[in-house]
Amino acid sequence: MTQQELINKLKTIVKPYIQNEMAFQNMTPETDFINDLKINSANLVDVVLDIEDEFDIEMDTQSMEKMLDVKSAMDIINTKLKNI
């Protein structure tokens, strides 16, 4: 999977929860889930669970702690996928 494919998959995952359409359209690795996409924190739990389902990985509490922006999410997914 290329990094662009990964971003696209993440875009599909976060879409139902975003509250800032413009930031969503321009989503990059630097995009922050809460400050830019305005995802409320309860929905960030849903994003975590959706990522687990989509990539068939388990996100432990240490990984979840860093789940604040797209880049961190990509790093977590890439690391977990490598270790499978």
Binding site: Q19, S41, V45, D46, L49, E52, E65
Partner: protein, 191 residues
């Protein structure tokens, strides 16, 4: 310092927390035990959630590290509407108000003396809600401190924490803003 969090119960469907894995991701084993043995698990989930969130806001104001770690904020309830949240070496007190439609929690160090105001939105846009809660805070501060509304501004600092300015000079009034669904809330301390 003060933190607050509001949860709109009309938009948090039970599906959300009953989703497989939700409780395990958010709550400690003790908290999960409380929830699963409660007569009102739905209310308890969001009560504990709002305790964690309001404590997190205080923790951030105190220079805490930004993180998404709800489990690290461990809740204890003394009464239905009063509790404590432990994180690292810090302890916060919380008090909550709940109705059928919302739960609102305030986190503070030892006691809270201040103003709390809730607002109900008709507009669902995040941007407009944020504007309205900011305006509410400024109006209340202007009223209670007897200062000019027009000279008040709210700006975020480098750590994304909102701060109050009066004629471009920082006002050190502890406050906290939150919004969720159709509700917004502001609190500030009277010092």
């Amino acid at each position: 310092m003060v933190g607050n969090d509001i949860v709109d119960l009309t938009i948090t469907s039970p599906i959300n927390w009953q989703r497989n894995g939700f409780l395990q991701k958010v709550f400690t084993p003790t908290e999960q035990h409380y929830i699963l043995n409660s007569e009102k698990p739905f209310q308890l989930v969001w009560l504990l959630w709002s305790m964690k969130e309001s404590a997190y806001k205080m923790y951030m104001q105190q220079g805490g590290k930004r993180m998404f770690a709800p489990q690290k904020f461990e809740c204890f309830l003394e009464k239905a509407d009063k509790g404590m949240v432990f994180v690292e070496h810090l302890i916060y007190q919380t008090k909550s108000k709940f109705t059928k439609k919302y739960i609102h929690t305030i986190a503070y160090k030892t006691q809270f003396e201040g103003i709390t105001k809730l607002i109900s939105f008709t507009d669902t846009s995040e941007k407009n809600q944020s504007k309205q809660t900011h305006m509410l805070l400024k109006e209340e501060i202007a009223k209670h401190k007897k200062i000019k509304l027009d000279s008040l501004t709210i700006l975020k600092n480098k750590r994304d924490i909102p701060q109050l300015y009066y004629n471009n000079k920082r006002l050190k009034i502890p406050f906290s803003i939150s919004h969720h669904g159709t509700y917004g809330a502001i609190v500030f301390c009277q010092i």
